[in-house]
């Protein structure tokens, strides 16, 4: 599996799956200036969607107030060890990718 920007820890436990995801991303707000005083253009992850067996289990819209290396944790009912989660992210620039992670 090619390494993307997402890392996920998904654990099936007591009938639920606890999902923790972190993305490697600077989350530039567009409010910062560089050393010479020019505005650094905004570039942050806008959406992160997590699907399990074709069904969306979490959809996140993010703004400028999300920290660098955004983190998200949630729990959904069901999920089996060994199955895969599909995680799709979209940047404000339009860049997008889908990455996968196994439930442990």
């Amino acid at each position: 599996m090619a390494k993307g920007i997402l890392r996920a820890k998904a654990k099936a436990k007591g009938g639920n799956t606890v999902v923790k995801i972190m993305a490697k991303h600077a989350m530039e707000t567009g409010n910062r200036k560089d050393k010479s005083g020019n505005k650094i253009p905004a570039n942050y992850i806008q959406t992160l969607t997590v699907a399990y067996q074709g069904k969306t289990v979490m959809e996140t819209n993010m703004g400028t107030a999300i920290s660098k290396n955004p983190y998200l944790a949630f729990t959904f009912v069901g999920g089996t060890k060994g199955d895969e989660l599909e995680m799709t992210w979209t940047e404000i620039t339009g860049a997008t990718a889908t990455e996968t992670a196994k439930i442990k």
């Binding site: 820890k9 660098k68 944790a73």
Partner: protein, 286 residues
């Protein structure tokens, strides 16, 4: 963990004797007593924070301040240094142009050895920190040395620390030259510097867990165990000596040289103070 406990038991038995010894553990090679210094420091913190186990000091200020600890634990749910450890592992395993790799420079292939640094190197006649050893390894293999404070060196160091987690620091002072290095480090630790006229000890011994404006300085016991550190303020990983320089600037002093003799000796002294504690680097800090 067992090792820690037995060390603890030993420490408390030796307490009474050590405190009075510390007062006389002097500043000359003949009188300095590193073991007495270490036990005196432990007993100082134990007296001030009787409810905190010595083994918990590896968590720095989070051992002492509950509200910060809560936030830190949230961060540790998915620590920001994980990417760096991953990248560090990749760097560590990438062979140099000559076919050798980091593993060839270190005992045990570089795995699980963080607790042995910094150490007195007989051949070089100086204290060698892990970061110095990393760059010496690179140069011995015809590679360029890395910058000392952050980036690749911190990542490689973080990976090496990560493979050493829970190993117990047990630095040795094999001879008088090493003891002199320890003494020099001790001197630096207690030396007031800069316009604010503060020493490391001011903030991290007497000042531990006391607000400096809005910051709570961490205790020096266990100070070095979690380095390199992903500092939220930096937004990235940095080495211990990057922090040393930052601290010296904070007291409005001109920082000493990164990986220069003074800083290496200081790191040796500080790490010796944490003998008996475990490696838990890399860490996440505010």
């Amino acid at each position: 963990m067992k090792i820690i406990k037995s060390l603890l038991a030993g420490a408390s038995l030796a307490l009474v004797a050590s405190v009075s010894q510390a007062a006389t553990s002097g500043n000359t090679l003949a009188t300095v007593d590193p073991e007495a210094d270490r036990l005196a420091l432990q007993s100082y913190f134990q007296k001030r924070f009787p409810k905190v186990a010595v083994s918990d000091y590896v968590n720095g200020i989070y051992a002492l301040d509950a509200p910060s600890r809560e936030q830190w634990q949230e961060i540790e749910e998915f620590p920001p240094y994980e990417f760096d450890v991953e990248e560090g592992e990749e760097l560590f395993n990438t062979p140099f142009a000559n076919g050798n790799s980091y593993a060839d420079c270190f005992d045990n292939g570089g795995i699980g050895i963080r607790q042995n640094f910094p150490r007195w190197d007989e051949g070089q006649g100086q204290i060698v920190t892990l970061e110095l050893a990393i760059n010496q390894c690179r140069e011995a293999n015809g590679e360029k040395a890395l910058g000392w404070k952050k980036g690749k060196i911190a990542k490689v160091s973080a990976y090496m620390a990560y493979t050493s987690r829970d190993n117990v620091f047990d630095l040795q002072i094999p001879n008088d030259e090493a003891k002199a290095a320890y003494l020099d480090g001790k001197q630096s630790f207690y030396a007031r510097r800069g316009q604010l006229n503060m020493s490391c000890a001011n903030c991290h011994v007497a000042g531990a867990n006391i607000l400096i404006r809005a910051d709570l300085p961490g205790p020096t016991l266990g100070h070095v165990t979690h380095f390199p550190v992903f500092r939220s303020k930096w937004g990235e990983l940095g080495t211990l000596q990057r922090r040393y320089g930052g601290c010296q600037k904070n007291v409005r002093g001109t920082p000493q040289k990164t990986q220069g003799e003074k800083f290496r000796n200081l790191e040796f002294f500080q790490t010796y103070m944490s003998n008996g504690l475990v490696v838990n680097g890399p860490g996440a800090r505010k």
